[in-house]
């Protein structure tokens, strides 16, 4: 395996959790709900996913636990912002604080444990191709699932009736309501989907990316996923592009640290965060008027009677 091949493979591993979490948040935001708790839901997914995998000695069980944890925490968020029409920004922060704390309690007994690598696709002939073989035909199931998810979300949002309904609810909640669309139910489902994705992304971190659990291991990836949605102008295709761009930046920064090129390690570690800010600014230059944000994003909805 050449060094280039190794780097490309790690880029895929670093990008996959960002892509999954960003797709979930994208669907949530398209329905008009801003859930800033991705970081917290991801942390819960990482802790519960790892705990589940150890307890049941099965990666699949771990993944299900991670997804469930994400769904459960997002349900709490949904109760507050939909049921009680609370401020979405503050509720998202509450979810992040709670998720980071609770995941610390759940994960603590599993510090020091390790998981074996997950199975990778192996098609004799194809996987052995030089350079591209492992890259395209030798990934783990999550990578292929994330790509299918990306296509699926795009198809759902822009090619199905239900997707149109969801976008309508996010674009103008008052009109959608007066047309008889179940605004709150659509949003509930969108929030739960976002939670499931964040939980899955978190489980990927602890089960595949590091294969152990440590406190605070999400280290801002949830927030970067939220930023990616803005960066992607709420489009799944762009989310894919953005996630891989950020994954690549993260991996290159790690390789630069390992190569000790004379730049302080902290400066390189800061790169993904600075890059996020720069990317948001550059993109805002391109589209001063229409950012692509759903019209009702972040607004609480109380049906009038």
């Amino acid at each position: 395996m050449t060094i280039v091949e190794a780097i490309l493979l790690t880029v895929v591993t670093a990008s996959t959790p960002l892509l999954i979490a960003a797709l979930g948040e994208l669907v949530t935001e398209r329905s008009g709900v801003l859930n800033l708790g991705v970081e917290g839901m991801m942390a819960m997914g990482a802790a519960c996913g790892f705990a589940g995998a150890i307890l049941f000695d099965s990666t699949l069980a771990g993944v299900l636990c991670g997804i469930l944890a994400g769904v459960a925490t997002s349900a709490l968020f949904a109760f507050i912002v939909l049921g009680l029409a609370a401020n979405q920004v503050a509720s998202g922060l509450a979810l992040t604080i709670l998720g980071l704390g609770l995941s610390g309690l759940i994960g603590a007994p599993f510090i020091g444990a390790r998981r074996d690598p997950v199975a990778h696709l192996n098609i004799p002939g194809l996987t052995d191709l030089p350079l591209v073989g492992r890259l395209f035909f030798g990934q783990d199931a999550f990578v292929y699932a994330s790509l299918l998810l990306c296509l699926g979300v795009g198809w759902f949002l822009f090619r199905t009736r239900k997707g149109l309904l969801l976008r309508a609810v996010g674009e103008n909640q008052a009109s959608a309501h007066s047309l008889g669309l179940p605004v709150l139910r659509v949003r509930l489902l969108a929030i739960l989907f976002g939670g499931a994705c964040a939980g899955l992304a978190g489980a990927y971190l602890s089960l595949v990316y590091t294969r152990f659990w440590s406190p605070g291991m999400t280290s801002g990836r949830g927030w970067i996923a939220v930023a990616l949605v803005v960066f992607a102008a709420w489009r799944p295709g762009w989310a894919f592009f953005g996630a891989y761009l950020f994954g690549a930046a993260t991996v290159l920064q790690l390789h630069a640290q390992a190569a000790a090129i004379g730049i302080p390690a902290q400066a390189l570690s800061a790169l993904p965060y600075v890059a996020t800010i720069v990317a948001l600014v550059v993109l805002s230059l391109g589209r001063r008027r229409d950012t692509g944000a759903p019209g009702s994003l972040g607004m609480p909805f109380v049906p009038d009677r």
């Binding site: 709490l76 029409a85 509450a94 992040t96 604080i97 709670l98 609770l102 995941s103 709150l184």
Partner: protein, 364 residues
């Protein structure tokens, strides 16, 4: 089954005062359930978290000292939140304030510099916080970039800068290779209010900030302008209030106070720079601001309550071996409860059986 909300005509003053108390009670109940789920006694936890610190004079002083940064930061944040702007990067502004203020302490270390050192430290700390906060303010005002994301990203950057400084150029050469700066001289340390006590003059600054914020918010045109901008942005625009200026001012206020809190914490409490100088004051202050209902005196009380969770959390770590993450969990639960209680003040909440009413169907 579903929840139906009905806007209350005029939320009662009593309900407004009771909401945070109710939220606290609910959070304690839920926190107790979490402790019980961990197989521990909730009553023992309550004792260590709340009753013991409240009955120990030393711990009470400690509580006031820990409340100081929380109150300073939360007062600043209340200006932002009132204007519906979301500075959630106070933790970063706190750290940069601590770094900027410390430059003077480190530069004058070992010299017999006089009484000018402390005021300059405090001023530089405040300016550092303002500078760090003006980045998201500028990006928001000039490019329309979400201040939520940029202010948060800058927290990670600030943490890394501090980490670099205390492991690199600012490391104490005689510190046995520990990542920490030299211990500040007396001239660079905040004096205590009373001999033998724990309270330093930073506590007074927090109280002054509360009073000034009360006057500014309730009795000046600027305070009025803020409320209008937050509650009715369209009306504010029509009456000629500049959104950009408001953005810069509230970010400067909150960044400045967070920076001041940072240097006060370092010069008053820690006495040197370390890789970690805050257990998350900048984030906890968000909860303080909401628990205090964005009211300066409410924030003062809320700051003391949240300080108690930090002290209780440390004590529980030692005596009950309960992890510190329990404190974070409790803080998250508390913020949820505060937001839920707020909804109960604004709306009449009813549980209704059956399918939701279809607007179109009724209109026909």
């Amino acid at each position: 089954m579903r929840i139906e909300l009905q806007q209350r005509q005029a939320p009662s003053a009593v309900a407004r005062l009771l909401a945070p108390v109710l939220a606290l009670a609910a959070a304690f109940l839920l926190g107790g359930i979490v402790v019980a789920a961990m197989g521990r006694s909730p009553l023992a936890a309550l004792d260590v978290y709340v009753l013991q610190p409240l009955s120990d004079p030393w711990a009470l002083q400690e509580m006031v000292v820990k409340a100081t940064p929380l109150v300073l930061i939360a007062i600043g944040l209340s200006f932002c939140f009132r204007a519906n702007l979301w500075n959630i990067g106070a933790e970063g502004q706190f750290i940069v304030g601590a770094i900027c203020g410390s430059t003077v302490a480190l530069a004058t270390h070992g010299t017999d510099a006089g009484a000018w050192v402390l005021p300059v430290m405090l001023a530089l700390g405040t300016l550092g916080g303002i500078a760090w906060a003006s980045v998201p303010a500028f990006l928001r005002a000039r490019f329309g970039v979400s201040e939520i994301l940029t202010s948060l990203m800058l927290v990670y950057v600030a943490e890394l800068i501090l980490d670099y400084l205390v492991r690199g150029p600012w490391r104490d050469p005689k510190g046995f290779n520990f990542p920490q700066s030299v211990t500040f001289d007396d001239a660079a340390t905040l004096p205590f209010l009373a001999d033998g006590g724990r309270l330093h003059i930073g506590v007074l600054m927090a109280v002054v900030a509360v009073v000034v914020a009360f006057v500014v918010m309730g009795h000046t045109i600027f305070g009025y302008r803020l409320r209008v901008t937050g509650e009715a942005p369209r009306a504010a625009r029509f009456s000629g209030f500049s959104e950009r200026r408001t953005t810069f001012i509230v970010f400067a206020i909150s960044g400045g106070l967070a920076g001041l809190a940072g240097i006060v914490e370092v010069a008053g409490q820690i006495g040197q720079l370390k890789p970690s100088i805050s257990p998350g004051y900048g984030f906890t202050a968000i909860i303080v601001a909401f628990l205090g209902r964005l009211n300066p005196f409410g924030i003062l009380l809320a700051g003391l309550v949240m300080a108690l969770t930090f002290i209780g959390g440390e004590a529980a770590q030692i005596t009950l071996r309960l992890p510190f993450d329990l404190t974070r969990t409790f803080q998250g639960i508390l913020l949820f409860c505060v937001l839920a209680a707020d909804a109960l003040v604004t709306y009449r909440v009813r549980l209704v059986r059956g399918a939701p009413a279809q607007a179109a169907g009724r209109a026909a």
